[in-house]
């Protein structure tokens, strides 16, 4: 039991490359350590690209299953995370094509839970403001093209470099930057229409007005 715990600790401290080498040699536990390390980012990526919790979970599961099956073919040309992102994005793209629909906006109730409260000491009003702003951003993101949304997600939430995004999306660097610019520009326009503009100062944004605007936009944008 003690040995198992020690192995688990060692596993968590090992680098991706070390764990990949062990996984390739058939050590399933090492692969599971990689899964534990990367499942959350992959799920978050799929959720933000697809906009649906259940599908994001399925994509996440399928990503790791494919990675497990193909781990012997992974020669370390790219970072392990980039490899996973590539698998996940391909699955997301297939999903979107198969379903032939844009990412669906989740219900307001579900979205309420989607906003995490990091600081427990935040006032109730601030929490409400963050929640409403989260809804507006969800709606605004859903109006972007798949490419623009994916580019923003990879840059803003996963911290990939322009070159990494370019490699993942198979497009020139200039295209990545254009998508980013146009996506942010479009988001700004959408948020401005919802009454959110100016410096990002949450305290200055009224919760009730945000809520009212949020409901109004949902009627317009929901599909």
């Amino acid at each position: 039991m003690m040995l198992k715990m020690q192995n688990a600790v060692v596993g968590m401290q090992a680098t991706d490359e070390e764990l990949i080498a062990l996984s390739t040699a058939g050590d399933t536990e090492s692969f599971n350590t990689l899964v534990a390390r990367w499942e959350r980012p992959i799920y978050a990526l799929a959720y933000r690209v697809l906009g649906r919790e259940e599908d994001a979970r399925d994509i996440c599961q399928e990503t790791f299953l494919r990675a497990f099956r193909g781990i012997k073919g992974f020669k370390g040309q790219a970072k392990f995370s980039s490899w996973l992102y590539r698998i996940a994005l391909n699955l997301c793209r297939d999903w979107i094509r198969r379903e032939r629909r844009s990412p669906k906006i989740t219900t307001l109730d579900a979205e309420t839970e989607a906003v995490q409260v990091d600081n427990r000491a935040e006032s109730a009003e601030l929490v409400a403001i963050r929640r409403d702003l989260g809804r507006l951003i969800t709606l605004a993101m859903s109006t972007l093209s798949e490419e623009q949304r994916t580019t923003i997600v990879l840059k803003e939430y996963h911290g990939l470099t322009f070159q990494e995004i370019s490699d993942l999306q198979g497009c020139p660097l200039s295209t990545v930057k254009t998508r980013l610019y146009q996506g942010l520009f479009s988001l700004r326009r959408q948020l401005r229409r919802s009454g959110v503009d100016g410096p990002a100062n949450l305290v200055g944004e009224s919760s009730t007005s945000l809520m009212a605007r949020s409901s109004r936009k949902k009627v317009n944008l929901d599909r």
């Binding site: 399933t28 799920y43 497990f68 579900a110 989260g134 803003e156 520009f185 990002a200």
Partner: protein, 216 residues
């Protein structure tokens, strides 16, 4: 700097926004933003959007994914179609047995030309006879080999029949289970419609029934 009025290249703005690009280009953009109020406003707007994005967080879910040993090689569960076609494997196995038995019979083919005319012998008896080096008749005759083959084929057929019967029973049970589940779902949905009386729910129920009726 907007889409209609670009003072600075978009890629330069993006580089500046994310703190990338070479120092010279950054200095150029910075100087321009100091001079051009419109571009400065656009830049501040994009920067503000970036800062607001952090409130968009996916729902907290318990993923806990784990790969169990050999999961990659685990075959997918058989579909109904596959199960119905599985007896084909038994037929193939039976054919293979017949081929093997025939091959075993002709493996020791022995042709003798003598005063009795042409004598052709097959089967283990010939081998045994050769081994003994005597001109005695084989103790295992062709008739016996034939009987063995018939017995093997008979057993194989029996197994196939049993297998087909088991599969049909299994399929029947699955259909019955599915039907029970569908009926209970319909009852539940009818209850909801009665309680709410909502047209929307009624429409959803009709859609569901339509889907159920088209299931194979």
């Amino acid at each position: 700097m907007t889409e209609t009025n670009v003072c600075v290249e978009k890629h330069e703005v993006i580089d500046y926004l994310y703190g990338e690009g070479d120092a010279e280009a950054r200095a150029r953009v910075e100087a321009h933003l100091g001079d051009c109020a419109k571009c400065a406003d656009e830049f501040d707007g994009l920067d503000a959007v970036r800062k607001r994005l952090d409130v968009w967080v996916p729902p907290e879910v318990e993923l806990g994914l784990r790969v169990v040993s050999g999961a990659g090689q685990t075959p997918a569960p058989l579909s109904l179609w596959d199960q119905l076609h599985r007896p084909l494997a038994w037929w193939l196995a039976a054919a293979a047995v017949i081929v093997l038995a025939t091959a075993a019979a002709i493996a020791n083919l022995h042709i003798q030309i003598g005063p009795e005319g042409i004598v052709v012998r097959t089967g283990r008896g010939v081998a045994a006879e050769s081994a003994r080096g005597a001109a005695t008749v084989s103790p295992v005759s062709d008739e016996e080999s034939l009987q063995n083959m018939r017995r093997l084929i008979g057993e194989s057929e029996q197994r196939q029949k049993q297998e087909v019967a088991d599969r049909l029973l299994q399929v029947e049970r699955q259909i019955a289970d599915q039907r029970t589940a569908d009926l209970s779902e319909m009852h539940r949905a009818f209850g909801e419609v009665d309680e709410n009386g909502a047209d929307l729910a009624r429409q959803q129920l009709l859609d569901y029934l339509r889907r159920v009726s088209t299931r194979p």
